[in-house]
């Protein structure tokens, strides 16, 4: 009912604005809705709901949910795809590491939109927080909890902005509009900004219970997991050229404490089948720590579906468009395994995996490949009778070879929706899943030279992957690829030194989260973006000639430029990023 009445307000407001200027001028700003609406716990609670909605309010022209444009396409994991190099040409420039000012910076598509969308969402959190602060605990018994929730959302959004732009203005609820215009993106140094963002998660940890009745809301363990992520990023201290100069053991130890708490709470665990992370029917399962909640047939116009990946579907008969976000040959090759069922760390990319290799008795591969990429003749999205076909590719000659899969759903899924020429689903998007927590902990242990303790964590994921072949099979029960995967056994199949452990950890993150978009941010965190991506390009250029003049400029491309319009609109209080 509330929903309907609010809709009426919307219409009324629109008419008031459109009828005439005269009416508009006669309009009393001190209307009954203003103050009254904001001072009841129920209405303030609705501001909190709106703040939650904001973290899912996006589309592929400026996403804040799926980071595929920024984290996957800009890494060695994926190509842009689409109908031509110039189809969403801004994103082609991202893929080619060609972010010179100002055209990209003034374009609506991409990071300038993401900037505005993220800050719009932050303003909702701050709005709710201001109103929560005006109430008393007596008026609203769960006030502290709600404060913690919106601070979690605000922390999440500042974190997103931080990994995209490095130096961003930190906006809290105490600032007026004029005050916000005076906040520089360099108010805080790199490390200070991490600390500032961390305060929100600390507040969450202090004030939220470990479990809350509504699964879409944040809880204390979400705060701990997110803070662990933040501390891990913060641990890799960067100089002004974005190079990693030190790894801070204090921060790593915080990661250990926090991940320990999350793991030992026994609230979360890995899904038994890797597939459940990407399938309808398993939302908010044991592995999902915090997710963007999507929904369908929910009383909204089109449903709250995953439109940030709305371009990812193919030309398959059941879909139709637009074939963006395509696995790179390099990433597919990374799934190769050797005779021991371990990654081929040094030789994986020497020879490209082809359709002929990816058959039941073909080249040995990690089974996660059939959860991640559409491969010619293999069951697509766990449908034994629907086999991926190159004819689904929009422009094979440019980007072709493999298909996108994790973020798509079957066309007959009740979660699936066609929206214009695009597609979405109501399957949640995990912001943090338990596998992340295991690997953050493993990473911290390795960097603290306690790599022996990291081994079982990594092996947990390999063991789960090994057992995740039930849904990828053909109808006759055979595997479409030759699955060979084993755990690391020190002294038997690997010498578990710190450097090998680090290599194994980085590989595991890549395969486990392939196409889920943390890759680019991982490479920047580890300080190896330039060398990894230029090596990737060197091998990928003969395979994909459109990349011929791509080059990653170290010290610049690790972060996006501050959008030029934002610099203009704030009279130059923002300092542009390095080399832009």
């Amino acid at each position: 009912m509330k929903h309907n009445s609010i809709k009426i307000f919307t219409v009324t407001a629109a008419i008031l604005l459109m009828v005439s200027c005269k009416k508009f001028l006669e309009y009393e700003p001190k209307g009954t809705l203003t103050e009254d609406a904001l001072n009841t716990p129920q209405r303030v609670d609705a501001l909190v709901t709106a703040a939650y909605a904001a973290i899912g309010n996006d589309v592929f022209t400026g996403p804040i949910t799926s980071m595929w444009i920024y984290g996957s396409m800009r890494s060695d994991d994926a190509y842009k795809g689409g109908g031509a190099v110039g189809d969403l040409g801004e994103y082609n420039a991202y893929e080619q590491y060609n972010l010179t000012v100002p055209t990209n910076s003034n374009s609506a598509n991409g990071f300038p939109n993401t900037w505005r969308t993220a800050y719009a969402a932050i303003s909702r959190a701050n709005f709710a927080l201001r109103k929560l602060n005006e109430l008393t605990d007596a008026q609203m018994p769960n006030r502290k909890v709600r404060q913690g929730e919106v601070r979690f959302l605000r922390g999440h959004l500042h974190f997103l902005l931080k990994i995209l732009f490095k130096y961003v203005p930190y906006i809290d609820e105490t600032l007026t509009d004029e005050g916000i215009l005076a906040v520089s993106n360099r108010q805080f140094k790199n490390d200070e900004l991490w600390n500032k963002i961390s305060e929100d998660f600390q507040f969450v940890i202090t004030n939220l219970p470990a479990s809350v009745p509504e699964v879409g809301r944040a809880n204390q363990l979400n705060g701990k997991a997110y803070l662990a992520k933040l501390r891990l990023y913060q641990a890799y201290e960067q100089d002004d050229n974005h190079g990693v100069i030190a790894v801070n053991p204090t921060r790593l130890n915080e990661v250990l404490t926090l991940t320990n708490d999350v793991i030992n709470a026994n609230k979360y665990r890995l899904n038994d089948d890797f597939a459940k992370n990407f399938l309808y029917g398993f939302d908010n399962g044991p592995e999902s720590i915090f997710a963007i909640q999507y929904s369908i047939n929910d009383g909204t116009t089109i449903g709250r579906i995953s439109l940030s990946t709305g371009l990812s579907y193919s030309l398959a008969p059941q879909y139709g468009c637009c074939w963006f976000h395509i696995p790179s040959q390099n990433m597919v090759n990374a799934f190769k395994t050797d005779a021991n069922g371990l990654p081929m760390f040094d030789t994986f990319n020497d020879v490209a995996l082809t359709d002929a290799d990816l058959v039941t008795n073909g080249a040995a591969v990690d089974p996660r490949i059939d959860h991640t990429a559409g491969i010619q003749g293999h069951p697509f999205k766990y449908q034994p009778t629907i086999l991926y076909n190159h004819s689904w590719e929009r422009i094979s000659a440019l980007y072709g070879g493999f298909g996108n899969m994790k973020e798509q759903q079957a066309a007959d899924c009740p979660c699936f929706k066609k929206q214009g020429p695009f597609y979405g689903s109501s399957v949640n998007l995990d912001v943090i899943r338990y596998a992340d927590v295991l690997l953050w902990r493993a990473e911290a242990l390795i960097e603290l030279n306690r790599h022996a303790e990291a081994l079982p964590l990594i092996n947990q994921l390999r063991s789960r992957a090994k057992n995740s072949t039930g849904r990828t099979k053909f109808a006759n029960g055979t595997n479409p690829s030759n699955y060979q995967i084993n755990e690391y056994v020190p002294g038997v199949n690997i010498d578990w030194t710190q450097s090998n452990a680090r290599k194994a950890l980085q590989w595991e993150r890549r395969l486990e989260f392939a196409m889920e978009s943390p890759r680019f941010f991982d490479l920047v965190r580890w300080g190896i973006a330039a060398e990894t991506l230029n090596a990737y390009l060197a091998k990928e250029k003969p395979r994909k000639p459109y990349l011929a003049s791509a080059v990653f400029t170290k010290g610049r491309e690790e972060y996006f430029p501050i959008p030029q319009t934002e610099i203009d609109y704030t009279k130059g209080v923002y300092v542009q990023n390095n080399k832009y």
Binding site: G86, A93, A121, I122, D177, N428
Partner: protein
């Protein structure tokens, strides 16, 4: 404004969220701000002065008029865009800039009738106007082009703000000698370092032209002799520079699509033209707004030619007709534009859909009873 001063308008679009993780069913929803308030909003006001003179010379053979106008509009109502960091629903209506318009219009007609029955007249008209922002409060600056240090004051809203083209780099020596310009290289466009800080960036943009023509003009000829009448009308604009929607498509490489003819004449060391060297990647950001992309957009169009023949009324009475006239009208017969402008029609601004107006011929019979 205090942060609690929100106006009473709320919007629920995008405030519903599946907090229960139910995946469907009616969602809880909330409120969001859609507009900032301004208690001091006023009407915009206009002061206008028109002066005109009508005249006749040589016993009415020459007639004409001249008008001059000045208009000043104050407190223009505007909703300027705001910094992203301020957040959602915070744009406000403000009383902003003051703008002056100045212009003139002239009309001159020569009319003559000869004893032999030839009547004819020639009419020429011309008009010119310029507008200029004269006052610009800082809070509305973002609604206009320009930057905080190089604002639109003294310029028209229709002026063009961008980089200055400074030729094509001919050799490595020129590339090395130039200031820091990301993406510079042999065969690429050199932009001018207007502020002299040793690097090309957003602060090197300046006012590089205007979309307004220097003059709009029209000519008209009316002529009749005995039973034949003829009228011709044409008009155009002069001194206009503008963006050619086909220009980029002709000058730059687009992968997996057809490419324009100008590319055949792209820069090479042997063929040092002003069209940048063909390149798959636009590393030098040559789509940026610059006078490289502004071309002569003046045009003249012969819009209407009409030739008529009226039959003598005496012979028509037999058919109970009062009059019969046969005429032929040709519309949009000729359109002249500069070769630089490669899209179809400079009069129709806008994207590639600016197809020229069709040429039409009408053969008509006008009968009165």
């Amino acid at each position: 404004m205090s942060p609690t001063d929100f106006p009473g308008s709320w919007l629920n679009i995008g405030t519903a969220y599946d907090l229960n993780g139910a995946n469907q069913g009616t969602l809880p929803s909330g409120y969001v701000s859609i507009q900032g308030e301004n208690q001091n909003l006023r009407w915009e006001s206009t002061d206008e002065l028109n002066m005109g003179v009508d005249f006749g010379l040589l016993g009415g053979r020459i007639t004409g008029s001249f008008d001059y106008f000045v208009r000043e509009t104050k407190d223009i109502l505007i909703q300027p865009p705001i910094a992203g960091a301020i957040g959602e629903g915070r744009v406000r209506w403000l009383n902003g800039a003051t703008k002056t318009n100045k212009g003139w219009e002239a009309l001159l007609t020569y009319h003559h009738s000869t004893q032999g029955g030839l009547n004819y007249s020639f009419t020429g008209s011309a008009a010119h106007f310029r507008d200029k922002i004269t006052v610009l409060p800082p809070e509305v600056r973002t609604a206009y082009q320009g930057t905080s240090t190089n604002s639109v004051i003294g310029h028209s809203q229709l002026d063009i703000f961008g980089y200055k083209f400074d030729g094509i780099f001919q050799n490595q020596g020129e590339v090395d000698a130039h200031v820091t310009q990301t993406g510079k290289g042999i065969g690429r466009i050199r932009y001018k370092d207007l502020n002299g800080d040793g690097r090309i960036n957003a602060t090197d943009r300046d006012w590089i032209g205007t979309q307004l023509p220097k003059m709009e003009y029209g000519i008209r000829v009316d002529l009749d002799y005995k039973n034949i009448d003829l009228s011709i009308f044409g008009s155009g604009v002069a001194g206009k520079r503008g963006f050619d929607p086909m220009g980029d498509l002709n000058k730059f490489v687009f992968v997996n699509s057809n490419n324009g003819r100008d590319l055949l004449n792209a820069w090479t060391p042997e063929n040092p033209t002003k069209i940048p060297m063909a390149s798959l990647v636009n590393r030098n950001d040559e789509f940026r707004q610059s006078d490289f992309r502004q071309v002569n957009a003046s045009y003249f169009k012969l819009r209407n030619v009409q030739l008529g023949y009226t039959l003598a009324s005496t012979g028509l009475q037999r058919f109970k007709m009062a009059g019969l006239r046969i005429y032929l009208i040709g519309q949009n017969l000729v359109a002249l534009k500069d070769k630089e402008y490669t899209a179809k029609d400079p009069e129709r601004v806008g994207g590639l859909g600016n197809w020229s107006q069709p040429t039409t011929y009408t053969l008509g019979l006008n009968i009165t009873f």
